[in-house]
Symmetry: D3
Subunit: 332 residues, 6 copies
Amino acid sequence: MLNQIELSSLSKGDSLDHFFLVKKCELRLTKNGKEYLSLELGDKSISSPANLWDDVAGFKSIKNSLAVGDVVKITGSMDEFQGSPQIKIEALRLAKQSDEVTPKDFLPKSSRDLKVMRKEFTSRLDKIINSDLNKLMNNIFTEDRFERYTSVPAGKMWHHSYISGLIEHTLEIVKICDLMCDIHPQINRDLLICGAMLHDFGKIEELTFEPVFEYTDKGKLLGHIVIAAMIVNEEINKSPDFPENLKNNLLHLILSHQGKLEYASPVVPKTLEAITLYQADELSAKVNAYKNTMQNEIKSGSSWTKFISIAGTDMHNHGIENQSSENKTLFD
Amino acid sequence: MLNQIELSSLSKGDSLDHFFLVKKCELRLTKNGKEYLSLELGDKSISSPANLWDDVAGFKSIKNSLAVGDVVKITGSMDEFQGSPQIKIEALRLAKQSDEVTPKDFLPKSSRDLKVMRKEFTSRLDKIINSDLNKLMNNIFTEDRFERYTSVPAGKMWHHSYISGLIEHTLEIVKICDLMCDIHPQINRDLLICGAMLHDFGKIEELTFEPVFEYTDKGKLLGHIVIAAMIVNEEINKSPDFPENLKNNLLHLILSHQGKLEYASPVVPKTLEAITLYQADELSAKVNAYKNTMQNEIKSGSSWTKFISIAGTDMHNHGIENQSSENKTLFD
Amino acid sequence: MLNQIELSSLSKGDSLDHFFLVKKCELRLTKNGKEYLSLELGDKSISSPANLWDDVAGFKSIKNSLAVGDVVKITGSMDEFQGSPQIKIEALRLAKQSDEVTPKDFLPKSSRDLKVMRKEFTSRLDKIINSDLNKLMNNIFTEDRFERYTSVPAGKMWHHSYISGLIEHTLEIVKICDLMCDIHPQINRDLLICGAMLHDFGKIEELTFEPVFEYTDKGKLLGHIVIAAMIVNEEINKSPDFPENLKNNLLHLILSHQGKLEYASPVVPKTLEAITLYQADELSAKVNAYKNTMQNEIKSGSSWTKFISIAGTDMHNHGIENQSSENKTLFD
Amino acid sequence: MLNQIELSSLSKGDSLDHFFLVKKCELRLTKNGKEYLSLELGDKSISSPANLWDDVAGFKSIKNSLAVGDVVKITGSMDEFQGSPQIKIEALRLAKQSDEVTPKDFLPKSSRDLKVMRKEFTSRLDKIINSDLNKLMNNIFTEDRFERYTSVPAGKMWHHSYISGLIEHTLEIVKICDLMCDIHPQINRDLLICGAMLHDFGKIEELTFEPVFEYTDKGKLLGHIVIAAMIVNEEINKSPDFPENLKNNLLHLILSHQGKLEYASPVVPKTLEAITLYQADELSAKVNAYKNTMQNEIKSGSSWTKFISIAGTDMHNHGIENQSSENKTLFD
Amino acid sequence: MLNQIELSSLSKGDSLDHFFLVKKCELRLTKNGKEYLSLELGDKSISSPANLWDDVAGFKSIKNSLAVGDVVKITGSMDEFQGSPQIKIEALRLAKQSDEVTPKDFLPKSSRDLKVMRKEFTSRLDKIINSDLNKLMNNIFTEDRFERYTSVPAGKMWHHSYISGLIEHTLEIVKICDLMCDIHPQINRDLLICGAMLHDFGKIEELTFEPVFEYTDKGKLLGHIVIAAMIVNEEINKSPDFPENLKNNLLHLILSHQGKLEYASPVVPKTLEAITLYQADELSAKVNAYKNTMQNEIKSGSSWTKFISIAGTDMHNHGIENQSSENKTLFD
Amino acid sequence: MLNQIELSSLSKGDSLDHFFLVKKCELRLTKNGKEYLSLELGDKSISSPANLWDDVAGFKSIKNSLAVGDVVKITGSMDEFQGSPQIKIEALRLAKQSDEVTPKDFLPKSSRDLKVMRKEFTSRLDKIINSDLNKLMNNIFTEDRFERYTSVPAGKMWHHSYISGLIEHTLEIVKICDLMCDIHPQINRDLLICGAMLHDFGKIEELTFEPVFEYTDKGKLLGHIVIAAMIVNEEINKSPDFPENLKNNLLHLILSHQGKLEYASPVVPKTLEAITLYQADELSAKVNAYKNTMQNEIKSGSSWTKFISIAGTDMHNHGIENQSSENKTLFD
């Protein structure tokens, strides 16, 4: 278990006795022809550059073997170069088994308790009444897949881009969808909830997240939407009695959930459940993205972020006191 | 009180003894040079064309005075012309006071009980803790304005386009926003809920709905977003101590709630409350629009509507049985 | 075998003794309250409206049973109504088995010989050297699927919208792709040709064409791109040794072949074969669409078509003599 | 009064005895751990970087207090670093009251005489015949507001981005609008001229310009269009007899003057005056933007600027002699 | 010389003794099989439909020879069909030479005096000081071309779509450009004015206007921009000493004057003169288009037009009295 | 004749005795005030930075005269600076006539044999049967123009951006067009092939390529499309009997070949030949662009390029063995 001050909380001059994940690693030459390693080191808060000079003990033994994804133990201090923080290394060694640290300890994680989220998910899944859907969902969520499903981030950037981000995001959408079903009895609740649970399911094969978040070749060539559709199609075809109409409508929810062709959905929402899922996904994703951006990007001494190009605006943290934040379910 | 079978439920050959609202009215000539009135008559379900020929008793006295917005009593029958329903008039007279019918009886209305909705709104408003906002909201919602606010439709077409559509739509958004505040304590609940209640408030001056839904000159020249901002600005300026920061953020919610410049918002959402309001509005509006379109536009003998250009697709009513529709608040 | 002058070649006053396919059929009332059938009748050249009046012999027996997709025998003549051709019916009966006509006889067909096209296709398929691909293709193209594949049009409108349009279009693309492989040895020929043959394969389930071209529910909800990807995925998964890399690249060709997200491809072309296939498809589709539009839409007494909205322009038939049309493979 | 050679006219090696405005100021460390101030210094022509090293007299006393917006007196020389000009500081002190310089002296200014422009504006305003409008304009342009209105730039970048840029830009538009009224008597001259004078009026609250041009929180959250509409609305509401029709049309001019929704106008131009104002604004803004860009951005040794992304092109200064530039009002 | 009440001023029942231009002409059959001519007849105000029945004297002799562009003399009366005006023909004959009417008499014309406009143009042209440009302009504007240039409309629809519309539009642009040159001495006046005079010059070959406005084959295949560039290029090449730089800049003005690639300019404005010309053209075109649309399209009993799709809005005629319309050149 | 290892094949430490083309050249000062030349040197493979210090023999004599486009002889070695290759210069001299090297030796070239391409072109041109076109083409392709036409690249970046790129690209399009004519006899082969040969002909005046690829002033102000149209127009006008119809259609092919207005074509394709040419151009350009990008931009240790913004994607080199690459013209 990792127990050290986060990199983002350290200031110039602070001494270091830390484990870090190696995020970049290149062997270079100085102008004088000496070798050094140009590194990027980080924990789950942020990353910083660092140079490992050839006069640090053990440089020779490590220079050709150190790789992205390794965990290292550093002693040194926080320094600064051209106005940006930099790590000054006095000694470096690879982490040992006895250190009990793994690369996963250095990745950002959902702030929600994973066990609680897993329980919420399975408990909601048990309430699916439609027997075809209930059985299908249990077949899809094998133990292995559920393990991966509850670990994967919802994306590489922008929203829920941290370990267990997908399950956190999915549960939020499921709650929004259940509220919409309460208001509109015309919506088929079982169909919609299954669609919500499966909509980003393909990300378990689209993304890797150890040691760093990255897209797989399969993910780039096929996309998570089609990956999910192909898996669900195969699982459904194992039950010859699964209704054709239900199958097409469930697949339609997965395929159309990004709402527009230009957002990479091959079909647009054509059913009441499909439009609900798309808009619930948008609501959850955008609110999370703004929240995270404002937590990380507000400029010091300002209440504004820089211009965020994916949102097409800068963002403002007004700082007005939230007197009603504790009141839950006010609307009864 | 109007007590008659709805026009949409009548078939060819059914006899008529009905009140209708006059929605169009033009004096024309037949090829043979005879005068007749070309009419469109309707109730809150639908409208149909009708011709009033010069051999109907009283034609002369009525031909120059009948106007859009009048209520008339018809006897006759349902007919058909070139494959579409048409009303065949045998006798027509203007409604009298003793008939106790008003044009409003012929306009589509929200299916929710108005008293319940008014109570939900005021009850939620009372829970605003921030005293500046609570006082402001009570100043804005005078009795006259509240009367109009709870009558106006949310739009002329597409979503919630019926009497009391605005209050129904607003309450749905408020519920979605409260759920988002439950999940994300970073959202300022009082600010967001006030923004939600005011976001379409300008529609009370943008739209008229008696005898037919129409935009006012002011509505077309200024738009409901700026109308609302100007009223709220005036009400705030009556309280010199109202915090400037809170004022700008509340106005920002109104101004940015359509989310994109090309949707007529003069600024895009820049705060956490603003993005939440925009996406909650989208969720409520789109689900309502799809629901209404599918109720009214499914082609007979098909499970599909025609192509709906505003949605960019045709829509599908799959007809799968909704086994879980009765379960409320499943997610606990 | 149908042997009659095509409807498009008939003029006002010509007498009729023809079989036609019923394309629309509605029972209506005249102003005087008499029933009649409002029909659209056609062969593979064009369609024309026709009214079947109640004084035609046998009207009563047929009025409630006649349906879209029936073939009827008409005697009568070509008439005109408000400047457009109309069929005047003097007698009408349903086609009998002994007439030896089927609805398919009335659908537009590719002008190329189907047997020749089938032979071209199988002969080219046999030249696939990569054994994984060769085996896969033979598994996919079962007799049943090949039968359907060689019948289906490539679309409902715009290009190759006639029986056997898909196979004609595919063969043209294959030829273009082979030429590009001759010029660029960096392109993987087997992979590209298989992608070309499979790119629109999903249309066998997306479209029906008897008695009229129409999209299936499955086609509208999933789209032909995903349908094809799901079938190919299933067939590949039957061969556990099929290389993962090859599988992803073949599926990528199908998924990206419409070239842009807004054209409903869930991924854009990322490989050399994918960009070649997309551009070859465009070349074949656009040339065919312009050719057909100019054959059918040039205004009489003009060298121009009306404005064709899908192309964003009107089109011009310059009529310049084609002195080199007979020279083939000039470039040697 | 500032009397020194402009920074943009100095070359490498020139000695400096100049006042400059501090535009950026950060305390940093060298690689050797010594403190220095990383500065950006400028006058109204351009800005250059400069480092204040710790061996310059008085460094200690100034290092924690110097701030953006201060005016400093420098002695030193023009230097160069990696091909770009840099200021070499030998001595630095803060400006004293007796120096008689203010930050405003270092901001770019309109090249037109401010007194002349103020006179042109008030003289044109006096010619408004419509008494409602004339009175309103005099109420809006209080002394304080007029002072600010005649100082503020028309924007932060692109066009008229200098002190008194707004009044210069407005007068140009007024002249263009008067010409259009001469040609088209259908245009309501008083209404149009008042709209022209008020169209960017909200910039007095949207922008600050001392010590540097910046958007205010209010400006970012509401935008200058709505700010202006709210002020004008309040001023009109003080005169209960002001005609409703005139009010809506004047507000419409302000709201629609950016011409398109995607340019942040909440309504598009719907009247003859509105379309005239939008196009006159475009003409003035674009010509000024091109003129300024070409004055500042032509690459040395070339007749072309770099690619200007806001214009979507590079720009060309052809250098063809302007033989008719002196002729005014040629068209009589 | 035509001396008759305009068609747009006639009401139902008025008797007719008028010359009209034939704008459409088709021989058709009635339901009973009788021949009649379906016509569209008009003067320079508007057009109306008319049917010539076979019982009108001379029907037989005229039915196969009457053609679009013929002028006919009608006696009859104004009638109405399905709510729209229609001409009822009692007698019809072709116009004779002695009638002294030509098709041109029936086309809409500029409201400005053509002689005055020709004089304004030549007088302004004489003030071009640059001798290369002055000589070039005189070579381009041969008597024949000037005749055509001063007759052609500026477009088929939308703005200045009437005889001599191009010269009226050009003179307005020239005045705007001269004003901009007065304000900005950096603009090369001679170059800009020549560009303004030539910018739509290609319309003399792109459009025909007798008997009706229509695009030529050349106009559709090449467009007026390239037609003008090719003519100007040829005229310049006759003077070997014409400066290359001046040539490219003059051609650039013609090519870029539509401002954006998507408006069919093959290059965007890259010089100060080019951006001025584009924006002046926009100002003149849009103001004229709005003015004409409001004159012709305001719905009766309303102050609004229908939705005008090319403008993306409906338009409003506010009817506010124009107290300053008589004041010219107020800004002195 | 240049005979040396390509710059792209050299590694850190390799000694240099090479000729290079000077691509950038600036005289600068070090921090210590010493002069040096900051250079970019390259051959046809790639370019690298290099500094010429003042202690290299002959620095003084060369520092003010060395210019972009010069060829120099370097001795030194390959070095590295901040992770990127850099040339370390020990001695430098200008190339002499006796070295027999020219700037052209250092530009990237088509990999096809130029003589073979010239022969292919003239041989295909001789097969134009239409005598008007055959004569015109021979008049256009004078020896001088053909020399330039066969040297110029097809673009500055993206596709065929190397010496003789235009002729290579054109021949590929001609082959594709001939294949389309084989398949579709409705296409006028002579017209299409002439259009293909001339479509990018204007690039001979739009681009310079010695010593570096650059756009001319004329190219930027007029564009290659209009340049080509003006030349072809002039050549056609020398033959008064050239058919007007053929002229307009040939010019239309040049003008419309970029397919869309936003791609800078002033008209869109309106004929069968025009749509064929546009799509054949796209096919050739995109395949070449992907091929070149993948050859140059695959990241080391990866099968992916970085994100290529002009293509809107990263690209993938799958590395699947091409078993059929040797088979030509498989489709017979």
